[in-house]
Amino acid sequence: MPSAASSIVSFYRSSIGKKLVVAITGLGLVAFLFGHMAGNLKVYAGPDKINSYAAWLHSMPALLWAARLGLLACFFGHIVTTVLLVKQNRAARGEVGYAYNATVQASRASRTMIWSGIIILCFVIYHLMHYTMCIGNEYESASYIDAAGRHDVYKMLVDGFSWFPASAFYIVSMALLCWHLSHGFASCFQTLGLRGERSWPLIKAAGYGVAAVIFIGNCSIPISIMAGWVSY
């Protein structure tokens, strides 16, 4: 009987083990996307609502950090494991590939997951520097404190997305994210073995639905700000 530790190691070393890690971390990231979007949409409820929401999140540092660490684990788990898989997959074809390449039904999104993923990674780094770490901007200065003494997230969002390049990069990244999800979401269920003959078309439709909702929900914010519908 192998020990528990060696079972876990051989699970992660296995093809299906790694795929399961990618699927579970992927679903974790999708859950985060929804939570994050729901929070951001409070911008439509006005400065008071979104600022108090942000203050509420920061009032529980232990929980906030636990969530952040979980998210970070999903993020790195997803990326490191997919990179390992891609390396193995490239090697599996052998030294000589096909001279005549053809695709029967694999979607374009499924064939470009690593590239959409890499661009999303670049975006996430930029996005964190922009709004979380506030590098290269004044978002942590006194002028971003609202009347109630809270961090003025509303003003930060409006100022951040008023700069066209930031909004454009955001929208392009969201498009790629949804492209990634159009393959990734249903794929998670396939990998987890949660698919039946009747549920499969629904799962695939849900994947497109999730991608569309995240795209529309998130992109509406920079668009509204640039159009002047959300301002201060």
Binding site: S7, I8, S15, Q88, A91, S187, T191, E197
Partner: protein, 250 residues
Amino acid sequence: MNLTLKVWRQGGPNHKGKIETYPAEDIPEEASFLEMLDIVNERIITDGGEPIAFDHDCREGICGACSLTINGVPHGRESAITTCQLHMRKFRDGDTIWVEPFRARAFPVLRDLVVDRSAFDRIIEAGGYISARTGSAVDANATPVPKADADEAFEAAACIGCGACVAACKNASAMLFVSAKVKHLGNFPQGQPEAKRRVLAMVRQMDEEGFGNCTNQYECEAVCPKEITAEFIADLNRGYAKASLEETLG
């Protein structure tokens, strides 16, 4: 009909191969793809050349010996058939056809279009069997099997192990093959004693052979001559997760 063939030629396992061009003239439309190659080979032999080596046996779509990647698609573009069942009338006069071996690191080329698929045999040896006594016929109803389970097992058992799934997969993954074998044995009560061991051992062997990892693109099921569904891969994933969990906790 007159065609041009672009064929992978390779003298032996360690030789460097290359694509060579052959004319295929006066080919009857009713010839199968393999018969067309036979005709071309006869002419090559008459001209004093080495015939193109390719695998074949039953020539009626049941043995899984024939292979070939035709214009980038294992067994050709037509769905649910093997190369031996593909007929030349599916091509147009004047076409150029690319004929390459099934490409995968785990399927090394032996010569021209012939690849070594013994990796599949080793996966079967690792767990693709049952230990229940099968030597003599037992009463048909001694072990009741629900009809739906039997039907599903039959669909999985239709796999002829040709390897087209590997050749078509962007990652040269063998998961459709392995999932079909795990399914057809695991769906029966007689397959239960080894169920957990089987899935772990077969996946382990599959990985050791150097096949890639499924990325859920389903090229495999699109080219499978027996139309094995990728739903079996989902079942394999779940079965493997469950067996691994039991092994870890057990």
